[in-house]
């Protein structure tokens, strides 16, 4: 019998040691907030998470915490704030999923950086807390007013804008030269687009010319995966994606049909690579950098990609000067002559977990991180645009040769809706575009499927406009 007991005990021990492993993480957190002797300051640990290659988004928070600590000290408070940073690798839906699941188990980071269009979803699920006080804060007083729209949902402010960007169309100067364009003409192209003289159709035709004359392998390349860029075209065709009055997403059938037709035509004319939507990002970058393609619907941060990874066949990593010599950047040309060209901004924002126990310190940290110097550090390093006037006036930012060329694009910008169902809308539209590009469906059939899909996915969150 004794041996039986030992056996059972051993099992219990094994089990409990396994269970003990999980308790550790929580202990660590509470240990930080515990009150300690007055001489050593009480350490408050805040966690901040981001995803993607732009680590400055969380590193800036660390920088801001240094300043916050100085302030706290001068106020005679015996608190020291420490920011722990985390970064996620993977797709955006996975990133959001992990945040939501972590929140469910009380393991959410205090500050969570994400694209603004997820604000609605996170707010609806009570994952994040409203930050209305930021609107009164001095640090955000010179924020570009449109950016408040990007973080507003159901009348409340849910996040602090972190950066914004331009999504220009890159054009390859070398290929235009091969077509006989003069340097002057090449450099004037953005201006012509801006005035609405060079339209979307002109762009398609030029791409075709480059292809038929053999100057380029492909005329036009866009991102291979779902993303905000595709919606810029919808806006270009006059679509409205969201009705804030009813808080409903809108399927604007006329405009979306044009949007899908556009991609269908590109594929039919063989201007885009076959099955572009199944390509790897790597191949897309290689195509663009190696002068195989004339127009690329990109983002200004792509410069960062090309500079940090070896995509060029001979040169490997290229430098900024090379990019500016070989690529031009323009707005997405207007759909009609004389119309207004568009671009789309996808501001990145800091949200604050509804579970944070330090909402006051977090808010102060968010005010400090809006400092123009810190903004510039992030902007120049990762090729994004500032969110405040102060950031735009920063000398270092202004001196940047790439960013200087796209700063004007903010005036032409559009945003994605902040609706919780938007990711479903976006992925359904992407699937429709993919279907017509791969030649699996005609635009009409794709449109019909899209409507059915959206009705099914969104139900009464959808409004259909003929």
């Amino acid at each position: 019998m004794k041996k039986t007991m030992t056996g059972v005990l051993a099992t219990v021990l094994v089990c409990s040691s396994v269970l003990a492993g999980c308790g550790k993480a929580e202990e660590k957190k509470t240990a930080g907030t515990g009150v300690s002797a007055t001489s050593t300051p009480e350490v408050v640990t805040l966690t901040a998470q981001t995803a993607g290659i732009e680590k400055t988004r969380v590193d800036n928070l660390v920088q801001a915490s240094l300043k916050l600590n100085e302030e706290l000290k001068s106020q005679g408070k015996n608190i020291e704030v420490k920011v722990e940073t985390k970064s996620f690798d993977g797709s955006w839906p996975d990133y959001v999923k992990q945040f939501m699941l972590a929140s469910q188990s009380n393991k959410a980071p205090d500050i969570y950086a994400i694209g603004h269009e997820y604000v609605g979803m996170l707010a609806d699920g009570n994952y994040i807390m409203p930050l209305d006080s930021l609107k009164q804060s001095k640090a955000y007083s010179d924020l570009f007013p449109v950016l408040w729209e990007s973080v507003t949902y159901k009348g409340k402010i849910w996040a602090a804008p972190q950066d914004t960007e331009a999504r220009p169309v890159f054009y390859n100067k070398g290929i235009l030269k091969k077509l006989g364009w003069s340097d002057q003409q090449i450099n004037d192209l953005p201006e012509k687009v801006k005035k609405g003289e060079f339209t979307l159709d002109d762009m398609t035709q030029l791409a075709q010319e480059a292809k038929t004359k053999g100057a380029a392998e492909f005329g036009i390349v866009h991102r291979p995966v779902d993303g905000p860029d595709f919606q810029a075209l919808a806006y270009n065709f006059g679509a409205k994606l969201y009705d804030p009055a009813d808080n409903k997403l809108v399927l604007d059938k006329k405009a979306v049909a044009k949007q899908i037709q556009y991609y269908y035509d590109l594929a039919q004319k063989k201007l885009i690579p076959d099955s572009l939507t199944t390509m790897e990002w790597k191949n897309v970058h290689q195509t663009v950098v190696n002068e195989k393609n004339l127009f690329y619907f990109g983002g200004v941060w792509n410069v960062n990609n090309w500079v940090s990874d070896a995509f060029h066949d001979q040169l490997g990593k290229v430098d900024v000067k090379w990019v500016n010599e070989h690529m031009g950047m323009m707005l997405i040309p207007a759909a009609e002559k004389g119309g207004k060209p568009v671009t789309l901004s996808h501001p990145f924002v800091y949200t604050v977990s509804a579970q944070t126990k330090q909402s006051e310190l977090v808010t102060r940290l968010l005010e400090l991180v809006a400092d123009p110097k810190l903004q510039t550090e992030h902007n120049v390093k990762t090729y994004h645009l500032p969110i405040t006037k102060g950031g735009a006036d920063d000398a270092t930012f202004k001196a940047d040769i790439t960013l200087g060329k796209v700063a004007y694009m903010s005036e032409y910008t559009t945003f994605l809706p902040n609706h919780e169902g938007f990711s479903k809308y976006s992925s359904a539209v992407f699937k429709a575009i993919q279907a017509v590009e791969l030649g699996k469906q005609t635009p009409d059939a794709a449109m019909k499927d899209l409507e059915a899909q959206l009705k099914n996915d969104l139900g009464d969150q959808l409004k259909i406009v003929q």
Binding site: G125, N126, S275, T277, M279, E280, Q453, D457
Partner: protein, 304 residues
């Protein structure tokens, strides 16, 4: 006095079994039975990213019926299960025949069977990586490099024939399962029978048809039903290889449940899809049960 005696009696009778089976029963209750109950409840809620339990009746099931892609997905599931099964069974049988009947050297047979076990025991991430590299659409992929030798333009196999790729990759893994079971079935045929057949001058064909096939009939049924159940609910390799895409071309029902729940955050709808799967799988288990009965299954679960 009498009371304590009864206590010991009870302890005698229940003590040992409950101690021995305690952890086992606890684990399967928490991670099998409880989830089934939860899924069943969730299937009738509209739980989404906000994680609220709101009863919504049958609307998830109605939604499934009106889902524009559900028929494509069911169709994919059938194609995927059927063809993967075909490869599993026939390749498995062929390999078993080749390594046990045609090749008499045990070392060679064992070596080949060992190699065929590799895909099965390789971590899925590694195994899929090899396939991804093989089909890589750029000129650096193996298939395209080989095509370039014949002056063919690079193809996009994974985009154009995704289901074929999925079936091939899964088929190779499953083949080893059939191979092992069939091999042991063939090996369990008494050697004298082969000798006698040979003395009688029987051809290979008649030996296979009259001796081997009857011997593997039950294992064949076993492998088929077992694999149907596994394939219906497995999606790990598809998730890694194509993520169900492009479009919905390789999306199977099990993966769809995963995607709706963990990608679209429609936990309620995802649970409803999972519930349907569980019911289908239970149906097959029932058939399995009827076909094999208890004793046969016991035997089948550990063939040496």
């Amino acid at each position: 006095m009498e009371k304590s005696n009864r206590m010991t009696m009870i302890l005698r009778r229940w003590g040992l079994p409950s101690v021995m089976l305690g952890p086992f029963v606890l684990l399967i209750s928490i991670f099998f039975f409880l989830p089934v109950v939860l899924i069943t409840i969730l299937a009738f809620t509209n739980m989404d990213s906000a994680m609220r339990w709101n009863y919504n009746g049958l609307s998830n099931f109605k939604k499934m019926l009106s889902d524009p892609h559900i028929f494509e997905i069911i169709n994919n599931t059938v194609i995927y299960v059927f063809f993967t099964l075909l490869i599993n069974v026939f390749l498995g049988l062929a390999l078993a025949l080749l390594t046990t009947y045609f090749i008499k050297k045990e070392t060679v047979g064992l070596a080949v069977r060992t190699i065929w076990m590799l895909p099965r025991i390789s971590p899925p991430v590694v195994y899929v990586l090899i396939w991804l590299w093989f089909f890589d659409p750029s000129e650096y992929g193996v298939l395209n490099s080989l095509r370039s030798l014949f002056d063919l333009p690079p193809g996009k196999f994974l985009a154009e024939n995704p289901m074929t790729a999925v079936i091939l990759a899964n088929g190779l893994i499953g083949a080893s399962y059939g191979m092992i079971i069939f091999s042991s079935a063939i090996k369990s045929i008494p050697g004298d029978l082969f000798m006698a057949a040979r003395v009688d001058g029987a051809s290979h064909r008649s030996i296979i048809a009259d001796l081997i096939i009857p011997a593997v009939r039950w294992p064949l049924m076993f492998v088929t039903l077992w694999q149907i159940m596994s394939l219906l609910t497995s999606y790990e390799y598809i998730l890694l290889l194509t993520k169900g895409g492009p479009l919905f071309e390789t999306e199977v029902l099990a993966l769809y449940s995963y995607h709706t729940a963990f990608q679209n955050f429609e936990y309620g709808y995802g649970s409803a899809v999972a519930l349907v799967l569980v019911l289908v799988a239970l149906l097959f288990s029932f058939i399995f049960w009827k076909v094999f009965g208890m004793s046969k299954m016991i035997k089948a679960s550990r063939i040496e």
